[in-house]
Symmetry: D2
Subunit: 413 residues, 4 copies
């Protein structure tokens, strides 16, 4: 219990550390529907604890403000009406300072909740979801603030006064082979995981191999220079529509100026470094690139089996303080084995054979999104360490670019 409370505290304060460089104005806007205002992330993660733990299980708890359920409920039909997703960016109130006060209020009651020993075993799982949920929003905070700042004509840096460190030259990619057979996938053990990872089960994999590193900017630029965005044969039909409707010619955040490619990073505008993994490409781009190479993306099952066999597990000693340093650096880090970027797989996001959503409101957490999205595996510089695990299933629509997404190549043997 003590450990859990410390974990709660650490995660909560990490969220606020991520926001520390933001100006009040940055907290408010929603330039595209995918991006939520940072303020909303701060409120929504707090609402999660207030609504699912304190309001439900702390006797006599008074809501901080009953209107906040409307403001900060995301998509829980069971929890009542809420601001339309696309309108989150219109809410200038509650002010950011009130949202921080709301956090403090809920944190105080959570402390009393722990101190009074109200955390039953059944609630422990809810709490763990709440903590992991907040970590997911830490990642979204970073991707969303990057979008907000990176689409501003002034291109303000999130990390000011530093520039992107040098990267070592990328090594040639090596192949990691997996032999044909029945493998187990899905979560196992006592550690926390989401419902969508549960139900360890067997899959048959034909022999295949994956590369030991992600595709680099240099490799992707070769595709661009070869006319990849104009050649229909590499693209899914809906991908080609996306290219033509948007006029896309490069990854998100890339700008061509005077013969050179620049990209917006959390450090501000930087020259594209050819040795770093390409990021901010969508599934259509990842898939087209792979086809242009005569290869393909791995399935999520291939990925999980290969990762388990070959990956150096991120060291458990890494803690949040280190992560704080790591995180912004991550953007230029590159080339570690798994965890440089969320890797598009060729698997649609669907339920596992033994999948059943939890009872009650948390049943809305994952299952209802299992349609028309693709699974991503791995994790990125914006991902909390503890979320980088071999069974974690991230998922986005095929046209989304604003996450730190990358490409790992595979082929059937």
């Amino acid at each position: 219990m003590t450990h859990l409370y410390e974990h709660y505290q650490m995660v909560r304060s990490q969220t606020e550390r991520i926001c520390a460089p933001l100006k009040v104005e940055d907290y408010v806007v929603q330039p595209i529907v995918d991006v939520s205002p940072p303020k909303w992330h701060l409120g929504h993660t707090t609402w999660f604890f207030e609504n699912f733990i304190l309001a439900a299980h702390y006797p006599g708890y008074q809501l901080y403000n009953p209107s906040f359920n409307f403001c900060f409920n995301s998509y829980y039909e069971s929890q009542g009406p809420r601001v339309q997703r696309a309108l989150r960016g219109n809410l200038t109130r509650p002010q950011i300072e009130e949202v921080y006060a709301y956090r403090q209020y809920v944190d105080q009651y959570m402390q009393r909740f722990f101190e009074q020993g109200l955390l039953t075993e059944a609630l422990t799982y809810v709490l763990q979801i709440g903590i992991n949920h907040e970590q997911q929003h830490q990642e979204l905070l970073l991707t969303d603030l990057k979008y907000i700042l990176g689409n501003n004509p002034l291109f303000p840096a999130y990390i000011e006064g530093k520039s992107l460190p040098e990267a070592s030259p990328a090594k040639p990619a090596n192949w990691l082979a997996i032999t044909e057979g029945v493998y187990e996938v899905g979560h196992e053990g006592e550690e926390f995981c989401y419902d969508n990872e549960q139900g360890r089960h067997k899959v048959f994999l034909h022999a295949f191999q994956v590369q030991d590193r992600l595709v680099t900017n240099a490799e992707y630029m070769a595709f661009m220079e070869d006319g990849g965005y104009e050649q229909f044969q590499w693209w899914k039909a809906e991908g080609l529509d996306w290219v033509r409707n948007t006029g896309a010619q490069a990854p998100l955040y890339w700008f061509h100026e005077q013969g050179e490619w620049w990209q917006y990073t959390l450090y501000g505008l930087q020259k594209v470094n050819p040795d770093l993994p390409v990021t901010h490409i969508n599934y259509y781009e990842a898939d087209a690139f792979a086809r242009w190479k005569g290869l393909r993306l791995p399935t999520e099952f291939e990925w999980e089996v290969a990762c388990r066999q070959y990956a150096e597990t991120p060291s458990p000693e890494s803690n949040l303080q280190e992560k704080q340093n790591f995180m912004p650096i991550g953007e230029q880090q590159g080339m570690q084995f798994w965890g440089d970027a969320w890797e598009w797989t060729d698997s649609a996001y669907l339920p596992y054979p033994f999948y059943s959503p939890p009872e009650g409101a948390l049943g809305e957490y994952n299952g209802k999104f299992m349609i028309n999205q693709m699974v991503l595996r791995g994790g990125s510089c914006a991902t909390p360490d503890s979320h980088i695990r071999s069974t974690y299933r991230n998922f986005f629509h095929a046209d989304k670019q604003w996450q730190f997404t990358g490409i790992r190549l595979a082929q059937t043997l």
Copy 2:
């Protein structure tokens, strides 16, 4: 070769038999983008033979009309510019009689092509695709003309002067179980199949069972009466959006009049028969219904394995003449094991492990659509017999209702 030419002839004339009840006006329109004008189907299937066989491989062949490539190319980027899909319904010319003349012209040259022994082995596959392609469009002709007539305020019947025969009371559904193990899926043997079925490969299936018949109208009405369309908990999030945006309350073609449910069929408006399989529901509805029942849809692999183990194969003696009789009757037929309706599976349409698209233009036939669609298995009253096979992979977007789609329930054991 003789056999193939006869097959060609039979299929070509079957297409025209399907259109026989249509009025000239019915051939022209496109009420939704999914529906193509019948005239366009007639021209497009003809263009397929002209373009991929005659123009490419018949020395000295003169195109019937060079503008027809623009009119009748569907989605082949490699074959040049074409009318936008959504604008097919604006083309009043060529007139329907000219399209029939076009068919005759191409059929004559195809006859000469056969007679002159120009059909090489390599071309045989292209020809077979052309024939199967035309059969696919026979099914689309039926679904599309049903939409055209069924959305007309006069509700004209396609089959006039008959009414829907009586159906026997639906039997209680039985469960068909499959034991855990590694199974092979995908096409095998010499018979024609599409590229997306190829690459026989292994999958691991956990023990499961499926029902031996489709869900009936009566069962589906119980879901409706229970408030199924209003209860968020059964629906995928995007499905709930679909319900709310469209106001859907029942399958497509259902109308509530004076306390009773009616549906538009190819015989015109008919009372909903409770014993027939429910059709014209989309994936969201199928999936919501299954969840309401505490069950799920099968995956395409489960379906294929169960079908191979349990289905009575449609008899090979059935021929096209019979099919002509069968086809309209099919709508009320019901309750045969596989082939009553296209069954939504819980599998996204994705490439098999050994999948590679054919070289050249026909590589655009299937592969580029492998994103954001769900697989359907089985076949319907509108499906040519020879297309009802255990490995056939049909696919549509999750919101589409205009095909003859149905529901088979499954559960993990």
Copy 3:
């Protein structure tokens, strides 16, 4: 009365003469929402007589088909629900031959209605509106079938086997001046007019002049060649948005091929004749052209006063037979004083000071459209002669090009 019945007959048969060159397919489609299917025009004009005269005032009249009210009511809220305007092009039934049968049925009853002396004085006005209404739809039939055929990749001609006659070289434009003063505008006398022309009233006009002919293709091409479509300064802000969103570079129906401008006419594709009046430009283009010339469009009041003072009235002897010949020729005729094209004015379509709509359903005829449209004056080659009068107020939205619209220049003195 006899005269009126003859007029009725002449107008009804003229409508059918206009449609004579159409193929069945041409009757059905609606490529843009502004264009109604020719079949719909035939049915709607017939419904007008059936609904407002026979059903209301012929004792014992049986509706031809009660569903036709839904199919052929245009926008009369008072007359019950109706097919959405944008969906008119989906109605393959009633078939065209049934629509003609409907016309015959109604015409027979109208004959009996006349013969039985049921036409009261009060109904005479309704009948006259019905006849004039049908004439308006004759014009729409021509503009709509031009759009249907002119947007077909085969560019079929409406008038086959003839080509556009030569036009004489355009004369230099002369100015026609009007002195400052109070003038009367609006309809006067016993002749039929629409409610929107009624309420003869006074306006004050400052001295101005208008040109004695319309702007020619040659003059408009000079604007195009000068970069007129790229130069923001000539355009209303919404016009510039229209140019940028549509990529417009020329009038509707103009195509640039191998260094020359062609245009689709009712005779098929023809080289643009520099001496003819430019047509198929919208208000934004007309207004931009005038500004580029340092001039402006006249107001509708200036137009009416100038027309009354200077125009040779179209001779009353012209009859419908002649009109039939005239009408298609009209497209190349050109250069008569008033009636070459509908002339955009700089007046918004608003009620006159004494305007009040008629009681009942016909009150919906004109008044409810008096917002966000611009007045056009004159008449075109597609306009029935009797509709070319100095008080007639035509009106369209500023972005519409599909009518035979032209430009007359004006300036304040």
Copy 4:
């Protein structure tokens, strides 16, 4: 000159006084495209002086930040590319404090510009436009911040801690008659006016009368209670579409709670006061209400003539300090003769006979918007006093409700 500089200073500081109650968050967002972020108004009005006076006419002037031209140019095609209008609300930077610094920087240089006697006669007009332009944006600031706060689920008040003062019972409306004749309209004299008011000219008016006060909330509620929003006969066709598409049932900012109507005001949520003028209705609603009453809206010319004949001119002694007090109070003030609300007229926004836009960039100020908008006359509690004059032509699209708009009834005699 001294006078002008003082005027400049007063207006500039008034803008900032209006913003004083705003929180930083309130400055940033754009909930609908019509509403600009308050921060943008502050920057744009400053850019106007910087761009058109300092950058153009102050030797050696350094732009505060060259990127600001992109951020703060509104619609001046001649002044280069700019952020799309709909994306203004995404710009979190420059921060509000930097925008205030920008204002201070420009104000300092403007002071030097005055002190150094650089204000030529030609520039005086530009300066006056700049000042009047800023005053127009003061009004927009109030209407836009009302929209921002009034669409927030917390309904924060702009003026806190006060409530709407009592209003006197509305007097019965009296008619003010104008006799038939030729009248002059348009600006005359030395005072500042916009180009669209210029060109004093003659109009003929038939005898008419207007009411001596605006329509009250009580009167409008009678329309609502009579089913006015459901009865098609009162509405323009496009108005009825608007009602049906939006589900509108009441003026903007009105909420029905427990049998009573409330409205959001700058004082927060308040019960609707039946004696105050109805506001925040669009042209469609104003026009429908008038028709329901058997009356009509006045034309802009009738309004101007009646105003000149009957209005008590706002006293010239009123100054900005008083205005500051008056302005928020204005919302409840009511019932003064002209200036309670912007009154929709039945005139489209079109050029006067002698209209010609100024040379250069300021030619884009008014003329290019003269299409598809309706003229409003009068002024509201949000309007600076000096903008309330009988010749002032305000203009908005017919569906806009977010301005302080009201209804004055008229009829032809």
